[in-house]
């Protein structure tokens, strides 16, 4: 077997961050090559380098494709050479038909006039190849996610694909759709198409892959032959980084039960038949930090948002109790008033009014406390904003600075200030340290410890397992909308969490 692709010593830097550090990847012709790694390990960045999203010259290293050095300037360039990437988020236009989507940008046309007969005939052939029995004129909107995935593959096949890259293709799929897709991959392999599969799901990897490359923290850890490979070994390679002293000291003595969520079930807001959260039950004690681990898309954010004022989902059922008494969390303001606050995952689009000042944002969720008869008391507001600026050590010239001018870490402190000012009993933090640097992370951890020391309950959702292990007293593991395990700080390890996820 000849080597189809070799990526040598690929290094890609973003301002201040090395996303890829001398990554090597070697893909043989006709194989299915799996790339495994945690969220943020650099898998997607590597694929963006390969497909020309990051053009030649914006990274260091060399790509050798079909025996010659390749310099892709954009996606078009790599597609011309038969490298097709299917992203996690599908890139189909829902309002167009299957045929229109397949030939989008590549229309069967003469002098700009589309030859529909040719388009539809060719679409039928392609759909037969991927085993999808839908009419070419069906709107993509009206078929399920699993079938949409197949349309994406048909689209790739329409371009004479040599190397097909699938980024988490089964993330949004049900069990049997996943299986169908994996079987299709094996079939394509038999037809001579080389595949790169990016996946967390080790069962899948073992089912289809010939070779596995594990990436961690932007570097290649190992390339293994999939035959006889144990999942434990992959997990170990995926998470095996050394833990240094990145977390402030804390000693906690959790008290009485504070928050209890029972049998919480949530349905998808648009796809009414999809159950997003499945009978989740968990609790938080006073002075305790509880983690929720899980991969992206496992339903962690949906769980939190559905509890916080039913901000996500439909037909929500289950109960929420605070200190044993049922509380009403049916709207955001009721949830806040009951003592539950939620810091969103995405601070820029969901947490802050970016063009406004620190003061404006700090008091936004609790204007009652800085107003009298509906009239704002500006001085009081300033005092509050100043108080939190000092308490959280937000680095800014003044509280009248617009938050858009602050760094990620300081923005996060402003969002934290906003929620602290609502005097919550339980604070749910969704990815509280995403996209901020190590120093600021440490400060946020300190704030979390202080909250626990004051007897508040903290729920911490994070994709970074070391963070959960370093901060939490207990960790719930979530997968596909269900809480699949609960580990105490003593029991928890990255391997155990990962194996709870992959073995679910």
């Amino acid at each position: 077997m000849a080597t189809l692709l070799e990526m040598r010593q690929i290094t890609k830097e973003f301002p201040g961050v090395k996303a890829l550090d001398r990554v090597d990847l070697k893909v043989e012709e006709g194989e299915i090559h799996a790339i495994c790694g945690e969220n943020g390990a650099g898998k997607s960045t590597l694929m963006k380098v390969l497909s020309g999203v990051y053009p030649a010259g914006s990274y260091d290293g060399e790509i050798v494709y079909e025996g010659e050095t390749a310099q892709f300037r954009d996606i078009r360039d790599s597609e011309d050479r038969g490298i097709i990437i299917i992203h996690q988020e599908l890139a189909l236009v829902p309002q167009l038909s299957i045929a229109e989507n397949i030939f989008l940008g590549n229309e069967r046309a003469t002098r700009g006039v589309i030859d529909w007969r040719k388009t539809n005939r060719r679409t039928e052939e392609l759909l037969a190849k991927v085993g999808l029995s839908e009419a070419p004129t069906t709107l993509v909107d009206s078929i399920g996610v699993g079938k949409q995935q197949l349309v994406e593959i048909a689209k790739a096949l329409s371009k004479d694909v040599k190397l097909l890259i699938l980024d988490e293709p089964t993330a949004a799929l049900q069990e049997n759709d996943s299986r169908k897709l994996l079987d299709l991959m094996l079939e394509l392999k038999a037809q001579g198409v080389t595949c790169i599969l990016i996946s967390h799901k080790l069962g899948e990897v073992r089912y289809v892959a010939d070779t596995v490359t594990v990436i961690r923290d932007g570097t290649t850890v190992s390339t293994l032959d999939a035959k006889g490979l144990s999942e434990d070994q992959i997990v170990h390679d995926m998470v095996g980084r050394d833990m240094t002293n990145r977390f402030p000291e804390h000693k906690r003595t959790p008290g009485a039960l504070l928050l209890e969520v029972d049998d919480w079930t949530v349905w998808h807001p648009e796809h009414a038949e999809r159950r997003v959260i499945k009978n989740a039950s968990f609790n938080v004690r006073a002075g305790e930090v509880v983690g929720i681990a899980g991969l992206m898309g496992s339903g962690r954010t949906e769980l939190a948002m559905s509890i916080f004022g039913k901000s996500y989902g439909r037909n929500i059922s289950g109960s929420v109790k605070l200190r044993g008494n049922p509380i009403d969390v049916s709207t955001v303001s009721k949830a806040i008033a009951s003592g539950v606050s939620y810091l969103t995952e995405d601070r820029k689009s969901l947490g802050l009014v970016l063009d406004e000042t620190i003061r404006f944002n700090t008091t936004l969720a609790n204007l009652q406390d800085v107003s009298r008869n509906g009239v704002l008391m500006r001085n009081e507001e300033t005092r509050v904003a100043e108080r939190y600026r000092e308490a959280l050590a937000t680095r800014t010239p003044s509280v009248f600075q617009k938050v858009v001018n602050l760094s990620g870490g300081n923005q996060q402190k402003v969002v934290l200030a906003k929620w602290l000012f609502t005097s919550p009993e339980v604070l749910i933090l969704d990815e509280p340290t995403r996209g901020i640097d190590v120093g600021a992370k440490y400060e946020i951890y300190t704030i979390i410890n202080d909250l626990a020391a004051q007897g508040k309950g903290v729920v911490m959702i994070s994709s970074e397992m070391p963070e959960l292990l370093g901060m939490c007293d207990r960790i719930y593991v979530m997968n596909e909308g269900a809480l699949v395990g609960e580990l105490t700080a003593a029991e928890a390890s990255q391997e155990r969490i990962m194996s709870l996820i992959v073995n679910d």
């Binding site: 973003f14 301002p15 201040g16 961050v17 996303a19 969220n39 943020g40 650099g42 997607s44 932007g218 916080f308 004022g309 901000s311 709207t331 955001v332 303001s333 949830a335 806040i336 939620y342 969103t344 689009s349 969901l350 947490g351 802050l352 009014v353 970016l354 063009d355 406004e356 404006f360 936004l364 969720a365 204007l367 009652q368 107003s371 509906g374 009239v375 704002l376 500006r378 001085n379 300033t382 680095r395 800014t396 010239p397 003044s398 009248f400 600075q401 858009v404 001018n405 602050l406 760094s407 990620g408 870490g409 300081n410 906003k418 995403r434 996209g435 901020i436 640097d437 120093g439 994709s463």
Partner: protein, 414 residues
């Protein structure tokens, strides 16, 4: 990928210090004031003093009153992240309703006024309902409203003009505040200023208001200083206040030498103060800015964004009704054409005043100044005898220039 958007500018926050930097970051506010002054000076010169003659100043205020009144509501709607295209039609419809009630059905004037304001509120509420609770884009809902209420006015008036109104109704727009000071003082001042007559109340009101503005500004300044809040440089503060105070006294002096304070100026001033206060100093005003600035963040902060949007449109309806009453009273008749395309002038005023199409940005004072800027342009060009064709083009370009200026400024800062 999480690492990609990580920022590493800790401790390197932007600081704004010094006069130049202050001017740069507040170019918009000063620019607007400056533009108004430049335009006024220009037209004063080319019209050989006609622009600022007492009768014309009075006229300017009367002519633009309904635009200003609607601009107050429009500012709220636009800050909330929406738009209302129906205000011209609603204004015309309410004028027609008033005319039919008073002239055709002989209803009591005060009953009519209240009924009209209520109907305006209901119209706004009906449109706001679809925008807020059904998430239908406000552009569509109010475009429909524009057509519906244009049609309704035609239907109500049966295509005819209805009028005239009784005197008590006309004074809403055409009345003036009687001088409450002894006639002797007026005559004395008339002698000093070499004017035909002087309405002391008007002059007095102007001086008191100017003093109040300066005094409140200084108080705020002292408070800012106590809190260590970065403030405008003293020279800017002095110059700005001097210009505003002098302009105010000058205008009220002009008014006093004609017929005194127009009733509608009082209405306008009171509404402006109320809305400036509402938007800048109350919880509900703050929430409107949050809603327009980031609807999702506002919602996740416990703000009932739907109700707020609904209220913004209801409020707009009431103000459009008020403007309709003023307009009908001023023309002394209701015509099917009343308010035609006026929504565009109102919207233009708000954008010239610095509001942002995407919501969350804009001030009442800006919108009012924007309305007068458009008004002075209209008035000045009409005095000069410039054709309506050129007038439209120039107004269009001024609007475009103001918004380009905004966008450019923002890009430079960001």
């Amino acid at each position: 990928m999480a690492v990609a958007d990580s920022e590493h500018t800790e401790g390197a926050e932007k600081e704004t210090k010094g006069v130049g930097a202050y001017l740069a970051s507040h170019l918009r506010e000063y620019g607007l004031l400056l533009a108004l002054i430049v335009i006024m000076v220009f037209f004063q010169a080319v019209t050989e003093g006609t622009l600022l003659r007492a009768v014309n100043v009075t006229n300017l205020l009367l002519q633009n009153s309904y635009i200003v009144i609607m601009a107050l509501g429009m500012l709220v709607v636009i800050v909330s992240g929406n738009i209302d295209l129906s205000v011209g039609s609603v204004m015309g419809f309410i004028g027609a309703l008033a005319a039919v009630m008073i002239v055709n059905f002989d209803q009591n004037i005060y009953v009519t006024i209240i009924a009209c304001l209520v109907v305006g509120g209901l119209i706004g509420a009906a449109q706001g309902y679809w925008v807020a609770y059904w998430r239908i884009p406000s552009f569509i809902v109010t475009l429909a409203g524009m057509l519906v209420f244009r049609g309704l006015s035609l239907w109500l008036l049966e295509g005819q003009s209805v009028g005239p109104f009784p005197r008590e109704f006309q004074i809403i727009a055409n009345g003036f505040m009687p001088d409450i000071f002894p006639a002797g003082i007026g005559e004395m001042l008339a002698g000093i200023f070499d004017a035909r007559k002087v309405n002391v109340l008007a002059l007095f009101a102007g001086i008191v208001t100017a003093a109040l503005i300066v005094w409140m500004g200084m108080k705020q300044r002292a408070r800012n200083k106590a809190y260590g809040i970065e403030d405008e440089p003293a020279s800017f503060f002095a110059a700005r206040n001097f210009i505003v105070a002098a302009a105010l006294i000058f205008i009220t002096f002009k008014l006093s030498t004609f017929r005194g304070l127009p009733n509608v100026l009082i209405t306008m001033a009171v509404l402006t103060v109320i809305y400036a206060f509402l938007t800048s100093s109350t919880v509900i005003g703050r929430r409107v800015y949050a809603l327009g600035g980031n609807q999702k963040a506002a919602k996740l902060s416990g703000i009932n964004t739907e109700r707020l949007t609904f209220l913004a449109f209801t409020n707009m309806g009431v103000l459009a009704a008020a403007a309709g009453l003023v307009f009908a009273a001023r023309l002394n008749t209701a015509t099917p054409k009343a308010g035609f395309a006026l929504e565009l002038d109102v919207i233009a005023a708000v954008f010239i005043g610095g509001a942002s199409m995407s919501g969350g940005v804009g001030t009442i004072i800006g919108a009012v100044v924007g309305a007068f800027l458009m008004g002075v342009l209209n008035n000045g060009m009409s005095i000069m005898g410039i054709g309506i064709d050129y007038q439209q083009m120039i107004k269009g370009l001024v609007l475009l220039a103001a918004v380009i200026f905004d966008v450019y400024n923002k890009q430079k800062q960001g």
